[in-house]
């Protein structure tokens, strides 16, 4: 059974019809890359899955259950984590609090936290620092860490390398690899080679619909079908 299924999802911002019938499937254990130019609706797809911007038509099925129309917190509690675009860490909370908040009341916080801190030694160093004082890369780490500790079955990762120095990107990639060992993942990434490197399969979006999909095996940006939609 697929972890996630999207069936003919249409999503709007006000009158603007952003997702115009998206279909996709994610199997357990996979990393699936979501590709496309700026503004084609990648982030919106993730928001639709989480019901942050509920689709007006179509269904989102998570672990076989129809979650369309549920409250975001309910979807999240069913095991969907989110590493949003632009990180969105809580700037006035400490690093540790940022992690703490993702665990929820029932989670075994201490052990999860220690696990995360061994994964991201940088974060341990700054555990009592307010998150806004962290560098962009560290914030991105924190956002990923926050997405991971929730013990999720599916992690939605939106442009994790955006605005990061290459060195940091490497660390982030390592972190994502670690994470993928435990959860299924959808990865939105503008850095095409990076995406190809990490993901097992890809979907290519244009104008709010899936235009291409397949295995990442051997795919390069030279590929005509990719080139058509990504570069000019």
């Amino acid at each position: 059974m697929s972890v996630l299924e999207l069936e003919d999802v249409h999503t709007y911002y006000g009158e603007s019809h952003v997702l115009q019938g998206v279909d996709l499937q994610v199997e357990a254990g996979e990393i699936v890359a979501l590709l496309g130019r700026n503004g084609v609706g990648k982030t919106t797809t993730l928001r639709s899955i989480l019901q942050l911007t509920p689709p007006r038509e179509g269904t989102v099925r998570f672990a076989g259950e129809d979650v369309t129309g549920l409250a975001t917190s309910d979807v999240a509690n069913r095991g969907v984590g989110w590493v949003p675009e632009e990180r969105r860490v809580f700037g006035y909370l400490t690093v540790e609090e940022n992690v703490r908040i993702a665990v929820g009341p029932d989670g075994e916080y201490e052990s999860l936290r220690d696990e995360i801190f061994t994964l991201f030694p940088d974060l341990e160093r700054f555990r009592d620092e307010e998150a806004r004082n962290l560098s962009g890369g560290q914030q991105q780490m924190l956002a990923i860490a926050r997405g991971m500790v929730g013990d999720n079955d599916l992690l939605l990762v939106d442009e994790p390398s955006e605005g990061l120095a290459p060195m940091i990107v490497e660390q982030v990639v390592d972190a994502l690899r670690e994470a993928s060992a435990e959860t299924t993942m959808i990865l939105v990434e503008q850095n095409f080679p990076l995406a190809m490197d990490l993901a097992d399969r890809f979907y290519l979006l244009d104008q709010g619909t899936v235009v291409e999909s397949g295995s990442t095996e051997g795919v390069t940006a030279d590929d005509e079908r990719i080139r058509r939609y990504l570069a000019a």
Binding site: S16, E162, A165, P166, P193
Partner: protein, 273 residues
Amino acid sequence: MLLSTHNLTKDFGAITAVEGVDFTLDHGELCSVIGPNGAGKTTFFNLLTGALEPTAGRIEFAPTSRSDPVDITDAPTHETALLGLHRSYQITNVFPTVSVLENVRIAVQAHRGRDSWQFWRNANAFDDHVAEAESILSRIGLAADAAEPAENLSHGEKRTLEIGVALAGDPDLLLLDEPTAGVSSEDVGTVTDIIEDVAADHAVMLIEHNMDVVMDISDRVAVLNQGELIEQGEPETVRNSDAVQRAYLGGYDSSGGAVESDDDANGDVGVSA
């Protein structure tokens, strides 16, 4: 020369959104500005129109109404607008509950001297304002929706209305910020047609992520990355520039020096370097 910036810089605390940009634009030119998210494109527009004050640098503008260039570095928005610098917004930013016609008419009115202070006369008595607004609506193809409240328009129509409002100030320079954002594929053509039409008698700067549009209609393309102007030139030149390919596809710091893509823009960029 219509517009020139010298060492234009804008800091937001630690972030330098626009850094030392020297840029010039000629009358009648259509120049696109591209660059990854957060490159500073919108901020650049904000500096030009006076919505933001630069941290450093200078902006000069030479509208047709003046013989000499004017220093507009510290001019507030309404002054740059009156000088002939008009913009549309990345996020639709019109007057939502009033009619489409009124959206444009109010912008026309802004340029009719003291008319706006005539609180004792009926706004509808100014036939020339209305006529002008109506002609703009015809030009952008919204005449049929003139009476509709702006918020009832479709997204694509709102994007065109954005342009209409900007056009109403009879600009010397029109700044368009992602006019096709969120416009469905069928309608993108309409918007580009309007832009080309407008560009025939106005100077235009265009921020766009839709490369088809950019490459198709621009006289010149300027590329911003991390606040810096890294490349500019004819569409073809820019398209083939390595730096641009890297910056625009890579979307991460290429100035950090760590990117070693020597031969092929599509190579294994950044990750395993």
